[in-house]
């Protein structure tokens, strides 16, 4: 049941417990309770809206930074990751296997914003060995949703 609720909310966080109950053949109270528990257990960590910022007038630049670090004794990568993710402009931080260690996704108003974060804050941290910064030029698909998908029904109105 939990997974089904999560699958629905992941697609549409606006769905009410009542609506979910109808779709899953359950009661409103049970769904509401299950959601409350999942919030308490930090399974549901928030309710976001997926926005295609390209369609707004807002100036936004997203940088994707590969960071190589020296893990610290007793703390592995967690400590350095925390020092990075506490900056509010940092959107996401992932520990990655392969050629580098941390993938940092950063949002700023301009290329300059991002560059200055990398120079002044990120590269200067003791355990950071190197960084490589990429800029996102266009988002085609995010969180499983394809942006700019054609709407409308290509089917005939009535078929047997």
């Amino acid at each position: 049941m939990r997974e089904q609720i999560l699958a629905l909310l992941e697609r549409n966080s606006k769905m009410t417990p009542e609506e979910i109950a109808v779709l899953l053949g359950s009661s409103k109270e049970m769904i509401a309770e299950e959601i409350r528990r999942m919030e308490a257990e930090n399974i549901i960590c928030g309710y976001n809206t997926l926005i295609n910022w390209d369609h707004t007038g807002a100036e936004k630049v997203t940088g994707l930074i590969e960071v190589r670090v020296t893990p610290q004794r007793g703390q592995g990568f967690d400590h350095i990751a925390e020092r990075i993710y506490n900056y509010p402009e940092v959107q996401s931080v992932y520990l990655i296997s392969g050629g580098y260690d941390l993938l940092v996704i950063l949002e700023g108003k301009s290329l300059k914003d991002i560059a200055s974060f990398v120079h002044s804050k990120l590269s200067t941290m003791d355990s950071v060995i190197s960084t490589a910064t990429h800029f996102i030029l266009k988002k085609y698909k995010d969180d499983g949703i394809i942006f700019d998908q054609e709407k409308g029904d290509p089917r005939q109105t009535i078929t047997p």
Partner: protein, 394 residues
Amino acid sequence: MMKLDKGMTLGKKAVALKPSGIRKFFDIVAEMDDVVSLGVGEPDFDTPWAVRDEGIYTLEKGKTFYTSNSGLKELREEIVNFQMKRLGVRYDPIHECLVTVGGSEAIDLAFRAICDPGDEILIPEPSYVSYTPCAILADAVPVPIPLKAENDFRLTPEELEEHITDKTKILVLPFPNNPTGAVMTRADLEPIAKICIERNLFVVTDEIYSELTYTGEDHASIVQFPHMQERTVLINGFSKAFAMTGWRLGYCCGPQEIISLMTKIHQFAIMCAPTNSQYAAVVALRDCYAEVEKMREAYNQRRRFLLHAFEQIGLPCFEPFGAFYVFPCIKEFGMTSEEFATRLLEEERVAVVPGDAFGESGEGYIRISYAYSLEALKVAVGRLERFVTRLRSR
């Protein structure tokens, strides 16, 4: 427009064939804008990308020639494996499987291969619109078995017995059913199988919706009963389960003697099913069942949504456990299904299909498809409720 010269006459059988009731309705809808449709009989999902990608790849590679008449061997192997997995029933991919242009072609072939002129084909109704015309075109006599709402539109052994004569040759089993959404469970099928053996009937079981059932149990087929496989043509395809309607690909499995006759007709009339679609279908069966499960879950949610909505509106509707249709009763309004559907269309711009388009016993019902997004269903249900409320207030 061109006209035939006087004195040139056309085939009486084709001329006399009743046009599909759906067609008539479609022509009215085509003239209108702003219609919210609940009238389609095909999935709203896109064909899984892996399947489409394979289609593109085979085109790029130039795999655009005929296949063998029976279909690609690797596809037939995947088909019999799939049936083994789903039903626990074994077919020989070489002699007992034929790939067709949709399930529809297999219906036509089966009737033509099995029937002599005058043989009777039992067709439980309401059901898909092709069985009756295909029977007529095969020079057989279609005999409808009207199914009842009180039985949840399942075929009962009594109803079957009642319609069997000396001329009865085939029983068609259209379950999970379009338009009612009815399914036959193992327990429902058992006595039917017994009668078919006693009365020596062939069975054509159209299981195109087999993957779309919501009972929580696996789909049951009549071929799972002893001695049924050898008298049954099992028809299935890719259209509904894998959202591949436009690829036009179906198949049938059955005894070699029937399949080889069907293949002979297929060979002359069709040659082979579309090559491109066949390659793509191999990927569908091999890699895409997880997507079928996802689609099934989405259909099930919509099904619950509609049943809940009808309960709120007060439209009586039995709970259908298959396909993607619900079949509510509209008898309380004192109109024919066609009048109801026409007025719903004219007054609220909602397209549904009148139940009698699927046989006389569908009169008094409408078919509502839930092969639509929840958002679309919400809009349509809102309009339907307004319509029904207005009718009741008069």
